[in-house]
């Protein structure tokens, strides 16, 4: 690995190397930070995934693995470890990648990036320890009057402040890159997406600080009460918006993988950027969908923030959902895969785990996560599924099938690019997205199935043994929970495969030399990532068919739920 000083740089002492795979100038300090944040993320995924498996095996009533206290304890730890720590550490790596690396720039203030890392790590560990100590089983939503130990909140606050610093480093790097002229014209789409994520993240963390700091003081006894409704309102500014950062960065990963592997460009840069702009303006307002059944907030507030604003944001997602397969189709056709309507798809690199994971993420996110999300975000039909297992079913489709699978796929490119290693166990890597995707789709669908039958979320025992008032769920509900447990085993197997490939590659993978990068390129299309530009074609019959199928499925399912609602009150 040769380090060269790039001529004409004002900051001559910074070390850069030219990545033989992508041609990007990689800032040594940014590279180290990317590596460390990715590996930390994977450790939290491994731990949190194990907790997920244990709680799924508990909800499988025939196994009913954990006692009640442990169920709620590990449910809290699971939510925090995967939803917050795994995803956000990975997002830090993506912030540094889409700013410094994609712009060929140095990272602004690497020292502060290390401070941020240490704060986030200490915060995550402190919060996790607090949960494992047993007095903080408040679920990751921590609604008062449930009260956790003070260091639970303190850990989260520390983590959030560290994360906020990384957003400012992202913005600072944009300024540095512009001043030092490391790119021309407008920033590339991946960087624009990173910017969108950073902006939403700033609002997210600001909301978090506004509510968690008083809650921390309340746990110390300094403040006497926290109003539950105000807590929910402000907390969901954090809880929902952070999911929108995930969606944004997952879309960035889709475009990035399509670009690196196939040289695909967005169908229209302008349209894709406008879709990101819709995210910046409207996505965060949809936080209100978490308060649809709260009394005390007006319908005007609810409907404005969910219906009107949310649909504009959903429009943004639909644009991306059309643009990414469209870009893949256009690139594939350009590369000569022109047979019939779906020749481009059949001949896509399905054996490349980066591509396979990306495409599975796209399809599962759209069909399972997107459609169920609109159902839950509609005030009237939300009530059918409110607080049932349908809700975790929905968000495992978004955050596991969508974001987690996309980030896993991205890792298969980050390892050769930033660790300069070939993937260890390539066969295992090849199968990993399919195994994990199948398991994740299973847990999403079967939790949604159980939820449709009324099974509550966050519920240890639906047989109500010893309870004064009991309820008989239909046998199908138990069957769904069993299938969910089986799917959890499959997803966990896929998770283990991922962790083995990552650590195997990083610590024992074959070193990737420049010659290797030439003979066995992993990112032949890197130019498409670095520069602004569009495919500029709409001759995409395959994508049009796929998108039509999506809309038909969407419309049917939406209609079925309204029928379902209408059937609840029989009017004669």
């Amino acid at each position: 690995m040769a380090s060269i000083a790039v001529p004409g740089r004002q900051v001559a002492e910074e070390r850069f190397r030219t990545c033989p795979d992508t041609g990007l100038e990689v800032h040594a300090k940014a590279e180290t930070l990317i590596r460390v944040n990715v590996l930390t993320a994977v450790v939290f995924l491994a731990v949190g995934g194990l907790f997920g498996l244990l709680i799924a095996l508990t909800r499988w009533q025939a196994i009913h693995l954990l006692p009640a206290e442990w169920f709620y304890l590990l449910l809290t730890a699971h939510g925090a470890a995967v939803l917050i720590f795994w995803i956000m550490f990975f997002e830090v790596a993506l912030f540094y990648f889409t700013s410094a690396v994609v712009l060929n720039s140095r990272l602004a203030t690497p020292m502060i990036a290390w401070v941020a890392y240490v704060m986030m790590l200490v915060g995550a560990l402190v919060a996790t320890v607090a949960v494992l100590q047993g007095n903080s089983s408040v679920m990751f939503t921590s609604y008062p009057p449930l009260q956790a130990a003070p260091h639970f909140y303190l850990g989260l606050i520390l983590f959030a402040v560290g994360m906020l610093l990384t957003c400012f480093i992202f913005l600072g790097t944009l300024v540095v890159a512009k001043d030092e002229g490391t790119y021309e014209g407008s920033i590339p789409l991946a960087t624009f997406g990173g910017l969108t994520g950073a902006i939403i993240m700033i609002f997210t963390l600001a909301s978090g600080a506004i509510i968690l700091i008083p809650t921390y003081l309340w746990s110390l006894g300094i403040i006497s009460t926290i109003d539950p409704l105000t807590y929910k309102l402000v907390w969901w500014g954090l809880g929902h918006s952070s999911q929108q950062v995930n969606v944004t960065l997952q879309v960035v990963v889709w475009y990035t993988i399509a670009a690196l592997v196939l040289g695909a460009r967005p169908l229209s840069e302008k349209v894709s950027r406008t879709a990101f702009l819709l995210y910046i303006l409207f996505l965060q307002l949809a936080s209100a969908h978490h308060l649809l059944v709260e009394p005390g907030l007006s319908s005007a507030w609810k409907i404005f923030n969910t219906s009107y604003a949310m649909y504009l944001a959903v429009l943004g997602s639909m644009i991306h959902g059309m643009s990414v397969p469209g870009a893949v189709e256009a690139a594939q056709r350009r590369l000569g895969h022109t047979k019939g309507i779906f020749g481009w798809l059949r001949e896509a690199p399905w054996g490349n785990p980066a591509f396979a994971g990306m495409f599975l993420s796209l399809v599962l996110f759209g069909f399972l996560g997107g459609i169920s999300g609109v159902i839950l975000g509609t005030e009237q039909i939300n009530i059918l599924m409110h607080n049932t297992l349908y809700v975790p079913g929905h968000f495992h489709a978004t955050v596991v099938c969508g974001t987690t699978l996309a980030f896993m796929a991205m890792t298969y490119l980050l390892i050769p690019i930033f660790f300069q290693r070939d993937l260890a166990f390539p066969k295992m890597a090849k199968w990993q997205p399919y195994v994990f995707g199948a398991g994740a789709a299973g847990i999403s669908l079967f939790m949604m199935g159980a939820g449709t039958l009324g099974v509550a979320r966050r519920h240890w025992d639906i047989t109500f043994t010893d309870a004064l008032i009991s309820f008989d769920y239909p046998a199908t509900a138990f069957f769904m929970l069993g299938l969910n447990g089986l799917s959890a085993l499959v997803a966990a197997a896929g998770g283990v495969m991922y962790v083995v490939v990552v650590f195997g590659s990083v610590f024992a993978g074959k070193r990737r030399t420049a010659a290797e990068a030439k003979s066995n390129p992993i990112a032949p299309g890197a130019v498409a990532l670095r520069t602004y530009g569009s495919e500029g074609t709409l001759k995409l019959p395959g994508t049009i068919v796929l998108v039509s199928v999506f809309f038909i499925a969407f419309a049917l399912y939406y209609f079925i739920n309204w029928r379902f609602l209408a059937g609840i009150w029989t009017m004669s």
Binding site: I187, F203, L233, R273, I280, Q284, A288, E535
Partner: protein, 55 residues
């Protein structure tokens, strides 16, 4: 080949929309103010207007 486009070939003064998209700090401002006003402040105003239960 993919078509290359930059805002440079649009003319000396790019379109308003393009200028907005090229201005990260304006985007930060919009992305933080919109939800703060429409979601947080509006929501908190409604909560503060809920009458207290007589004690």
């Amino acid at each position: 080949m993919a078509r290359q486009e930059t805002d440079k070939d649009v003319g000396a003064r790019p379109h308003v929309m393009q200028r907005l998209l090229d201005n990260p700090f304006l985007l930060v401002f919009l992305g933080v103010t919109m939800p703060t006003v429409l979601y947080l402040i509006w929501g908190i105003m409604e909560i503060t207007q809920i009458p207290l239960a007589p004690s």
